[in-house]
């Protein structure tokens, strides 16, 4: 009996918690489908009489969201792919090759991981202005084409692959390049997927850097565009919530499909700090 009560209690607490966690999302979607007068009704209405799908169309047209969306997709895709490429190569060198200065380089990079990225914004802004890259796609992409964090995670994974595979590939006459792309990368698929998804989420949601390096409306990513839209939307919460929904939705969909990898990625990388 006592065991049963404890079990029921657990579910009650978890359900209450889940309601609190979901509330902002439900409220967002609910508001996005209301008419203006409905949004300010007290007591609040959860399900509008008629679902105002037109709010989404209106919000999408109220600012160049199509362009923002495209920019976000472009920046996220290129930075993620680029970072993956540079990290896979570097992780291979750190895990399978011996070279002078290996330990020193590695320790220096580990040290840099501790430095807050916010501190680097000022000199990076100055560097990019010298290259005339401020307010271009380059500024949004180039600084993010490498990440030692990703290198570190992949290196750990590559090292867990047995050496015998490497020797076997060598005996078969495979080059290092071939071994990397045809053996090591396919074997490490789940870790690579995990870091990729985490990178996509981070890049999609990034705010401070794109805010600082873009001025032109046409270069804004979704979060920066949405922030600018809040001024235009004013108190039209239905439109604002519709816009928030389509900024959030792609990552929620990605999360629901790739949940397993995201959780695995966090468990692996988060624990190494």
């Amino acid at each position: 009996m006592k065991v049963k009560v404890a079990m029921v209690l657990r579910y009650v607490i978890l359900v209450l918690g889940a309601i609190i966690m979901l509330m902002p999302f439900l409220w967002m979607v609910s508001t996005s489908l209301k008419t203006q007068p409905e949004t300010v009704k007290i007591p609040p209405i959860w399900i509008p009489k008629q679902l105002q799908w037109a709010n989404y169309v209106e919000a999408f047209k109220a600012a160049p969201f199509a362009r923002y969306f495209l920019n976000s997709v472009l920046v996220t895709t290129i930075t993620t792919a680029g970072q993956l490429f540079t990290s896979i190569l570097a992780a291979f060198a750190f895990s399978r090759l011996n070279f002078y200065g290996k330990n020193i380089i590695f320790v220096i990079f580990l040290g840099t991981m501790m430095v807050p990225g916010e501190m680097l914004i000022i000199p990076n802004f100055v560097t990019l202005s010298k290259f005339h890259m401020i307010d271009t796609y380059w500024a949004l992409i180039v600084p993010w084409l490498a990440s030692f964090f990703t290198v570190f995670t992949l290196k750990q994974n590559f090292q867990s692959v047995p050496d015998q595979l490497y020797y076997a590939a060598k005996i078969d006459g495979a080059s290092d390049w071939h071994f990397l792309w045809h053996v090591l990368v396919p074997i490490s698929k789940s870790t690579i997927t995990a870091v990729t998804v985490l990178q996509v989420i981070g890049s999609w949601n990034a705010f401070m850097w794109p805010l600082i390096v873009t001025n032109t409306e046409n270069l804004r990513t979704l979060p920066v565009g949405l922030q600018a839209f809040t001024t235009d939307a004013g108190t039209n919460y239905a439109l604002l919530m519709a816009a928030s929904t389509f900024v959030i939705l792609p990552m929620v969909i990605l999360y629901i499909f790739l949940q397993k990898y995201i959780i695995a990625g966090i468990s692996k990388t988060g624990l190494k700090g």
């Binding site: 579910y11 607490i13 978890l14 966690m21 902002p24 999302f25 409220w27 300010v40 007290i42 609040p44 490429f85 540079t86 190569l89 570097a90 291979f92 060198a93 090759l97 011996n98 070279f99 220096i108 840099t112 430095v115 807050p116 990225g117 501190m119 680097l120 914004i121 000022i122 000199p123 990076n124 100055v126 560097t127 180039v142 600084p143 084409l145 490498a146 030692f148 050496d163 060598k170 949601n205 705010f207 401070m208 920066v224 949405l226 604002l240 919530m241 816009a243 928030s244 929904t245 959030i248 990552m251 990605l254 999360y255 949940q259 995201i262 966090i266 468990s267 988060g270 624990l271 700090g273």
Partner: protein, 297 residues
């Protein structure tokens, strides 16, 4: 091959593999770290021509006498104290509950983790609406308990609290995942042994779970402190590009942003970044020292 001694040839080859990563990280990570420290000593600086006319400590003396910076440090610390302990406790409790159930545990996990993947800027707009003093959901609920409407985002008294609540909500999922991993790693035998010794559930918790989970608890706390030191996006989005009413949510990174982006005082901004660096360094050193001494494995 791993057992081989490094040679010039192997070094050359490794360099080729490292080159793309090195070029980017040297330009955008290593160099700017050094440059930040150097810039914090620039007292007269022509950004367009990149000429430094004067050097000195005056950026640091400036910020330590600037009431705004001191307020930013204070607010940052309040934010850390408000967010981290509660996040750790709540996520530990949720993880313990999730660990004890089977049915629907996957669904709960999905729900609790959801805020982590959502754009801070977008979800802050939702919270902005929830916190609305006239029509907001929160004041409506509080009204049911007889609480009169609170100006969450307009009153300097409540702005920080509003920021803290939203931040805790957003960061729970990440920490729950880490705690669940930690709980999974505890060998079932410890509990069996404790049970044989007659330990009840509470004693099992305090004598088995808590000590064996301490490395994770510690890691989660340190990550939380460091992450909270760097809070910016939430503030910008929740208070529409301001540091809150009467600067009540002005934090160190927000200060850095203002000095750098709106006032173009690069030296001062860099100096505040250096202070942030040392705060994080201090926490990291405490972490290393403490985990060597106190964390039970």
């Amino acid at each position: 091959m791993l057992n081989e001694k490094p040679t010039l040839k192997s070094t050359g080859k490794a360099l080729l593999y490292l080159l793309p990563m090195l070029v980017i990280t040297i330009i955008f990570n290593i160099y700017p770290i050094l440059k930040s420290f150097i810039m914090s000593f620039y007292t007269k600086y022509d950004f367009f021509k990149d000429i430094v006319q004067q050097w000195g400590w005056s950026n640091f003396t400036y910020i330590f006498h600037d009431p705004d910076f001191l307020l930013a440090v204070k607010n940052t610390l309040i934010f850390v104290v408000g967010v981290v302990p509660l996040t750790v406790i709540i996520s530990l409790v949720v993880a313990l509950l999730l660990n004890k159930i089977k049915w629907l545990s996957g669904l709960f996990r999905t729900v609790y983790f959801l805020p982590f993947v959502t754009s801070t800027v977008a979800i802050a707009q939702v919270w902005h609406w929830i916190y609305n003093s006239d029509y907001g959901l929160l004041n409506y609920f509080l009204g049911l308990f007889g609480v009169s409407p609170i100006a969450w985002l307009e009153s300097p008294k409540y702005a920080m609290l509003a920021l803290i609540i939203m931040s805790i909500w957003k960061s729970l999922g990440f920490n729950i995942v880490l705690f669940l991993v930690g709980l999974n790693n505890i060998n079932e035998r410890y509990y069996q042994a404790a049970e044989i010794d007659g330990a009840n559930a509470w004693h099992q918790f305090t004598n088995v779970t808590v000590p064996l989970l301490s490395p994770i608890t510690f890691l989660v706390s340190v990550n939380g402190v460091i992450g909270s030191f760097k809070v910016f996006d939430q503030i910008f989005a929740l208070f529409n590009g301001t540091p809150g009413p009467s600067k009540s949510a002005l934090t160190i990174v927000y200060y850095l942003y203002q000095k750098f982006y709106t006032e173009w005082k690069y030296g001062i901004a860099a100096a505040s970044g250096v202070v942030l660096f040392f705060m994080i360094l201090l926490v990291t050193l405490i972490q290393m020292w403490y985990s060597k001494k106190h964390v039970h494995y």
